[in-house]
């Protein structure tokens, strides 16, 4: 059975609107995905009928809200196939999840001279926290090169590891190129060297089934808003033994067991890492989004998005002067490209006037842009609600770019 795309599109109210007098063709889900009606409705219903602050169980409403919040944690656990709910920490987004590891695990367990290995295709959010830690503690940052096709090979990764490697942090999927990395093999290699592994799953979670026990990584991060959920909520999976050994990330309410001016003791997991009132309604919304995505069925999602990638790649290759940046064998439905006659920013302006929303720029991944010798690319990213007609609309709008720039 394949996806019922007409029904899916009807679930996303924004897709029926017009932009500049044209039907919206939304091809920027890699930046942030649109939200389906069940997510919006669940958040509204929760806030209208069951909302209160959580973990203050003296009254009924707070108990119910706590149950809804914790149920969302259970959905995130199931989504990642983690072993225990307490291994799921709610954060603001994947960026905060990575910062949590750098600040808590990094400050406590990494020392001057220790090596942290990342790759050349990381998003800035998996580069900058490690550079901040380098400046603070004197760790050494090593970078695995990317091939001309935009791939990270197991061989290059192995060659970058050393006995000094204490942590490896890499993307599951490249946001700028769409490349899927061999994270299971990379994790195994890092573990053989005694290093801890953090996987940035921001771009993988919306497009691939993720099993943290199968990958065997120690930490896994993703953002709610990229899996058709709300902004302001993210997830960090952490292996229980490591989370237990780590110091808290932030201090405040909810993360303590007892507080006195002489000594404060930390709450057990996961509360130890969730200081302050969290994004309660957003967590509930994320739970609804994970339910929605899971109910579509991964086999059908994979087949649909693979078809879109193949179709769009084929059509775009037929556009004169167009070069695709990142041609890995294993990719999610992202096509990053340049055009010989027009800068990505000029392209995006013209595409926008045809209702086609794409990202133009360095995609918060300047090192990989540098690697391919381009200051920026135009990126079309496809989600479950996109169709072949969207790819056709993109190609037709690129025709208008030519009309303007090939005069």
């Amino acid at each position: 059975m394949s996806l019922n795309i007409a029904k899916i599109r009807a679930d996303f109210p924004i897709l029926s609107r017009q932009v500049h007098g044209c039907p919206l063709v939304f091809l920027d889900s890699a930046a942030s995905a649109q939200k389906p009606h069940p997510v919006l409705e669940t958040m509204r219903e929760f806030q209208e009928t069951e909302y209160a602050n959580i973990h203050r169980g003296a009254y009924w409403l707070s108990q119910v809200a706590t149950e809804r919040f914790e149920a969302a944690r259970g959905k995130a656990r199931a989504f990642l196939n983690a072993a225990k709910d307490k291994e799921i920490i709610f954060t603001r987004n994947a960026t905060e999840s990575i910062n949590l590891i750098a600040a808590s695990y990094g400050r406590a367990f990494l020392f001057a001279g220790d090596e942290v290995v990342i790759t050349e295709l990381e998003h800035h959010s998996n580069i900058v926290p490690w550079q901040m830690l380098r400046d603070e503690k004197g760790i050494v940052l090593k970078v695995v090169p990317v091939t001309d096709a935009g791939e990270v090979t197991v061989e290059d990764f192995a060659a970058t590891l050393s006995p000094k490697t204490k942590l490896a942090a890499f993307a599951h999927v490249s946001n700028a190129l769409g490349t899927i990395l061999p994270v299971k093999e990379m994790t195994k290699l890092a573990h053989e060297r005694g290093a801890v592994v953090l996987v940035d799953g921001c771009q993988a979670a919306p497009h691939l089934p993720v099993d943290v026990q199968d990958i065997d990584c120690d930490f896994y991060a993703f953002s709610g808003h990229k899996v058709y959920g709300p902004t302001g909520i993210g997830v960090l999976y952490g292996r229980e033994a490591l989370l237990k050994a780590m110091p808290p990330y932030q201090g405040g309410g909810d993360m303590i067991s007892s507080v006195s001016f002489a000594k404060t003791t930390w709450a057990p997991l996961p509360a130890k890492f969730e200081a302050g009132t969290p994004a309660i309604a957003q967590a509930v919304g994320l739970g609804a989004a994970l339910d929605y995505l899971s109910a579509l069925g991964w086999n059908d999602v994979l087949a649909h998005e693979h078809d879109l990638l193949a179709y769009a790649t084929d059509k775009l290759m037929g556009v004169e002067g167009l070069s695709i940046v990142g041609q890995a064998r294993d990719k999610i439905s992202v096509v990053s490209f340049t055009l010989d006659c027009a800068h990505p920013h000029d392209m995006a302006t013209i595409l926008d006037r045809s209702g086609v929303a794409v990202r133009a720029g360095h995609h918060c991944a300047q090192p990989i842009m540098e690697r391919f010798g381009v200051p920026a690319t135009t990126r079309a990213s496809f989600g479950v609600y996109n169709t072949r007609a969207d790819a056709d609309a993109l190609v037709a709008a690129l025709g208008r770019v030519m009309e303007v720039f090939r005069r």
Partner: protein
């Protein structure tokens, strides 16, 4: 739709974007500043030879960016050379008004002819997200005049 786009990407803009004038690094420049638009990755350096009396004796730039940012930088170098610091500032002020406001810009009489050449970029007004592209070179020029090394439009 195509009308607004043709207003934005006029022939003169495409020409200056493809073949930017004064795209060089003058050896005798005594001021320079680096400008960046972090959201889209546009980057340029503006070089300036400022005379003792505050006269812009030479101005040039190098960089990478979209057609709007390159064309604007190119036009700017052609217009600002031979002007005083104060006149360059007045032109920037008027240009900023031109691309960001509906009200007609205030242009000193002696600069009207130069300002007319900048009208080629008036189409930017219909594209608010591109105002930063059009003004990057001017912000950078201003930074160079003021002796600042770096500006960012964010």
């Amino acid at each position: 739709m195509m009308d607004e786009l043709r207003d934005l990407y006029q022939e003169v803009i495409l020409d200056h974007g493809r073949n930017p004038r004064n795209f060089r690094h003058p050896e005798d420049a005594n001021r320079h500043a680096h400008g960046a638009n972090p959201m889209c990755g546009d980057q340029l350096v503006v070089y300036l030879k400022l005379g003792a009396t505050g006269l812009v004796e030479d101005v040039a730039f190098q960089g990478k960016g979209c057609a709007i940012s390159m064309a604007s930088a190119s036009l700017m170098t052609e217009i600002v050379v031979g002007k005083t610091e104060a006149q360059a500032h007045a032109l920037f002020h008027a240009f900023h008004q031109l691309v960001s406001q509906d009200a007609p810009p205030e242009v000193p009489a002696e600069l009207e002819e130069d300002f007319d050449r900048l009208q080629a970029l008036a189409g930017v007004r219909e594209f608010p997200v591109r105002v930063k592209c059009a003004t990057l070179a001017w912000h950078t020029l201003e930074a160079a005049v003021n002796g600042e090394d770096e500006i960012s439009t964010e």
